[in-house]
């Protein structure tokens, strides 16, 4: 037997199902975002943890010039070190058939004795591991293999230490070390032009004159060990062997990229649901206030019959519970499917043996809790009013609402106001809170609509800024080893080269106070035309004769300002260390970098004219000749071709943001429609007597609709400017959460984006006006007028 009050609840809800659905949908949007992002975090986090554990991701990494294998045993003896895996890791150029531009690869050796890897174990997607003693067999990274259609059994041409070798792909695999598979220092993946390759130790070591030695080291620590002490000791042991400083998993490029992604998701998991649930709370408040006003007499009757205030209060809270539960159900299902779809985007960036969406059930429970919390908070005052109403008073009709001339009229702007406009203004002024809530809801919807456009505007700007104004080279060539000036001369004279500018980069640790970062300090020529350093206004920064220019983000991370002196500890050669002042901050959007005048850097290193690469501008007619020549240049380790990077960027980041844009667009439309529809339905219900009166005295349907909609139209107009401002704020907040050391976004919003937001909100408003306007025609004129309000 259902409680009669619950029957009443169900029937009341049935009569207002349109509004129940509208509010639940808005709530569901927020919850879906929350469940989706939290589940994505859970999926990425747990998949990563399982992968790292099962495939023994190393905890400390180090690279060096050359050290005898025997040194590995000494490293193993350092207290806290559990496992040591010495290996050879080198950069190579790949020559893909039918592709002019060279690709590059990172070749990593497998254990010498053909035994299993102890750390960073390979997961084989297909094929097999190289046989012990096989000289030409390699396992190829999965992302590159897929992007280029390569399979086990195919040949791969690799320039190994200057010699073209044709290797045989025996397997396709991936490793926890390269979940994010990109060149060192690159923040975006380029799966078509970069691969990780694994091959047996001996052929690789012999080719690089490292037989019996290693140039790369991975460590696992005993549980509970603090890495700092181990790193200090390892650095001490490796220093004589040209080591560039050991670092932890946190600083490892792939792991760091994943961390950054999770940080962004965590920010979104809070910001977005907060916005939606606030709107939903406003809407619930409006709906319930209306019900309580409408059911004033019923409340009195219930109390007269002996229901307690608590029972009445609980009854009205149940309206909210139903909406909250419905919202959670819709949000849960939507979040589940959106998440499962969106997880595909992550496979563009991150490679796992399997990335299967896992619903975070705790997020569902949290969603229910949060939605109920938000809506109950939204209606507490209303329920309290219902409960404390003395029965006798409630039985009497409410006196006519108290009105006064609106502010506009009091200051004398009234003579040309139509009665409809006066009614609208006075209504708004008499009950400012509902009007304010509606305006807020609409402003939020407008703001949500600005965000996706702002994202693409920012990306467009970023592309222009980074690829047209900052990086004006066509290609950047890196050498395997720092070379003399003649090396630069060779690059300058490759076919098609119009201009070449030398670069000298050296690994270093920058330290300011207690904070430090390990990165490459790049020396470039003053007046560089190809790699220009720009400030926040987009003006070219002059390279100072001494001192550093660095990414603004790097200065922020170090806590340093222009004029501060940072400790630069070079981790190559003689390993000089000295204090260098910061002379300016560079605006850039990917990675962090520090620059010096190339001459100053060489002085610091006590070198004459060494380079380890060059920025190159090409005559496009000789594009293919240049690419062919550079493939055959023995000392070139990597060639980064700008237009290839741009294409990769469009395939990955731009595509994923495109998907997210569509999602946000749908959410914004739901909110805009829901808010206007809900407000219009409430206005219709509250003002049915007025509207019926107007119909009876002879107003036409269109005129009466005008009166109903006028007030909401004023609120829509009022909401738009606030919405645009809020959208800008939201975009800044979200972009700030994107602002990591690996990727940052400039904040750029084009007028067209604002215009689109306005158009969409107006269209959603017009649609809900139309739906509610139809009901004006169905008003029961006599019934409304003869009923006591």
């Amino acid at each position: 037997m259902i409680d009669p009050l619950d029957l009443k609840l169900l029937r009341d809800l049935g009569r207002m199902k349109g509004q129940v659905v509208a509010v639940s949908l808005v709530m569901a949007c927020g919850l879906a975002m929350m469940i989706m992002t939290r589940s994505l975090i859970f999926t990425l986090d747990s998949t990563r943890a399982a992968y790292y554990q099962k495939y023994a991701m190393a905890e400390v990494f180090a690279s060096l010039k050359r050290a005898p294998l025997a040194l590995a045993a000494r490293v193993a003896a350092v207290p806290g070190v559990a496992v040591v895996e010495p290996r050879v890791a080198v950069d190579v150029t790949l020559d893909l058939p039918g592709v002019a531009e060279p690709a590059s690869g990172r070749v990593i050796s497998l254990p010498e004795d053909g035994g299993p890897q102890q750390l960073n174990r390979l997961f084989l997607r297909s094929g097999r591991m190289p046989q012990a003693g096989a000289r030409r067999e390699v396992v190829l990274g999965e992302a590159f293999a897929m992007a280029n259609g390569l399979h086990a059994g195919d040949a791969l041409v690799v320039v190994i230490n200057g010699r073209r070798e044709t290797l045989e792909i025996c397997g396709i695999g991936l490793s926890p070390e390269f979940v994010f598979e990109a060149r060192a220092g690159e923040t975006l993946p380029d799966h078509r032009r970069f691969s990780v390759i694994w091959m047996n130790y001996r052929p690789l070591a012999v080719a690089y004159n490292l037989d019996g030695a290693f140039n790369d080291l991975c460590l696992d620590l005993t549980p509970g060990t603090q890495p700092e002490a181990v790193i200090a000791e390892v650095d001490r042991l490796l220093a004589p062997y040209g080591a560039s400083g050991a670092y932890t998993r946190k600083e490892q490029a792939s792991a760091q990229r994943l961390d950054d992604e999770l940080r962004v998701l965590r920010a979104l998991a809070v910001a977005y649901p907060l916005v939606f649930l606030s709107v939903a709370a406003f809407m619930v408040n409006a709906v319930l206030s209306r019900i309580v006003r409408l059911q004033r007499e019923q409340i009195a009757q219930l109390k007269a019959l002996g229901y307690s205030s608590r029972q009445v209060g609980v009854h009205y809270l149940k309206f909210v519970w139903v909406i909250g539960v419905l919202g959670t159900l819709i949000g849960g299902v939507a979040g589940r499917f959106l998440g499962a779809g969106l997880v595909q985007i992550y496979t563009l960036f991150f490679r796992f043996p399997a990335l299967d969406f896992q619903l975070d059930y705790s997020a569902l429970a949290l969603a229910l809790l949060v939605s109920l919390g938000a809506s109950v908070a939204g209606v507490l005052t209303v329920v309290w009013q219902a409960v404390k109403l003395p029965p006798a008073e409630a039985m009497r009709p409410e006196p006519p609402a108290d009105f006064k001339p609106s502010l506009f009229e009091r200051i004398g702007l009234t003579s040309w106001f139509s009665p409809a406009l006066r009614m609208a203004l006075r209504n708004i002024e008499r009950r400012p809170w509902p009007a304010a809530f509606t305006t807020c809801g609409l402003a939020l919807a407008t703001g949500l609509m600005v965000l996706p456009g702002a994202m693409s505007d920012s990306i467009d700007y970023l592309l222009t800024f980074q690829w047209n104004r900052q990086q004006r080279q066509d290609a950047t060539v890196f050498l395997t080893e720092p070379g003399s000036g003649s090396g630069f001369h060779d690059l300058e004279h490759l076919p098609g080269v119009i201009r070449a500018e030398p670069l000298r980069s050296v690994p270093a640790r920058l330290r300011f106070g207690h904070r430090s970062r390990k990165l490459a300090v790049t020396g470039i020529a003053p007046g560089s035309e190809l790699n220009r350093l720009l400030d926040e206004r987009g003006e070219v920064l002059e390279m100072p004769a001494e001192g550093l220019l660095m990414s603004a983000k790097l200065a922020e991370v170090l806590g340093a300002r222009v004029g501060d002196e940072v400790q630069v500890e070079v981790m190559e050669g003689r390993r000089p260390a000295l204090l260098v002042p910061i002379r300016g901050l560079v605006t850039d959007f990917a990675g962090v970098a520090a620059y010096m005048d190339i001459a100053a850097l060489r002085r610091l290193l006590l070198e004459s004219d060494t380079i380890n690469g060059a920025f190159i501008a090409l005559d496009h007619r000789q594009w293919d000749e240049f690419m062919r020549a550079v493939k055959d240049t023995p000392r070139s380790a990597a060639v980064m071709v700008k237009r290839e990077q741009l294409a990769a960027f469009r395939e990955t980041t731009a595509a994923s943001i495109g998907t997210i844009r569509k999602l946000y667009f749908v959410l914004a439309v739901i909110v805009a429609f829901g808010v206007v529809y809900n407000s219009a339905r409430i206005a219709l219900s509250e003002r049915s007597r007025e509207l019926a009166t107007l119909r009876v005295v002879g107003f036409g349907l269109a005129e009466v609709r005008g009166v109903l909609i006028g007030e909401l139209a004023i609120l829509v107009m009022l909401a738009l400017p606030f919405g645009l401002l809020f959208g800008r704020g939201l975009a800044m907040l979200i972009m700030a959460s994107f602002s990591t050391e690996t990727v940052r976004m400039p904040i750029v919003i084009n007028p067209a984006t604002y215009a689109l937001a306005i158009t969409v909100v107006l269209a959603a408003a017009a649609l809900s006006f139309a739906m509610v306007g139809r009901r004006v025609g169905k008003l029961d004129l006599v019934g409304v007028l003869k009923a006591r309000d």
């Binding site: 006519p400 609402a401 009166t693 009876v696 002879g698 107003f699 006599v782 003869k786």
Partner: protein, 246 residues
Amino acid sequence: MNVEPPLPPPPSAKQVFEARGVRKVYHTGEVEVVALHGVDVALEAGELVVLLGPSGSGKSTLLNILGGLDVATCGELSYKGWALDGAEENTLTLFRRNCVGFVFQFYNLIPSLTARENVALITGIARDPMPPEEALAMVGLQERMDHFPSQLSGGEQQRVAIARAIAKRPEVLLCDEPTGALDVTTGIVVLEAIERINRELGTLTVVITHNAVMAEMADRVLYLSDGRIVKERRNSTRRPAASLEW
């Protein structure tokens, strides 16, 4: 926007409404309720007619059909020779706008508009309205024109509703229990206003009540029962509203 009756002049220049066999059936769910069982009636200009009868006798239904708020299920109804049965919604809107004034038991003022503005709502759309001030003066409210409904007593609110109804100079004033929510003294003041309008403007006035005393102020009294006019009475003299007591 004005709609003139398109038909030839009515049979009698004085005749305003003529109803023949007007029937009204309501369908609520599966129940069929017959509210009017075929009413024949003719109402003339300048008359003050009182409809008397118990609840459910069909008074309000008849009034609503006369005023174009509702349409008859079958039967013929004409206003000055112009057929109202089967008229379209837009036509009925214009009929209400220009020809009919309504007063209900509940005043149905727009709370966000002052007395003057409530009246001005009509004067803004009607064909030949009187100034709102004049309409309010006729009901004795010239002093309280800029008050909002919440600042007026019940009787005053009802008089604003009457002023609003007559500001369009309607041919017909239809009042459904105009004093139903008022005490005797204020009720009398409201009836005086109705009486004055009927006398001074010559408006055909139909008043619904179940208070038999009010029949004394009418020219003609129609008794309704069970959806039919069961009796008709003509008063030789009208008693002034001020002298009524109940």
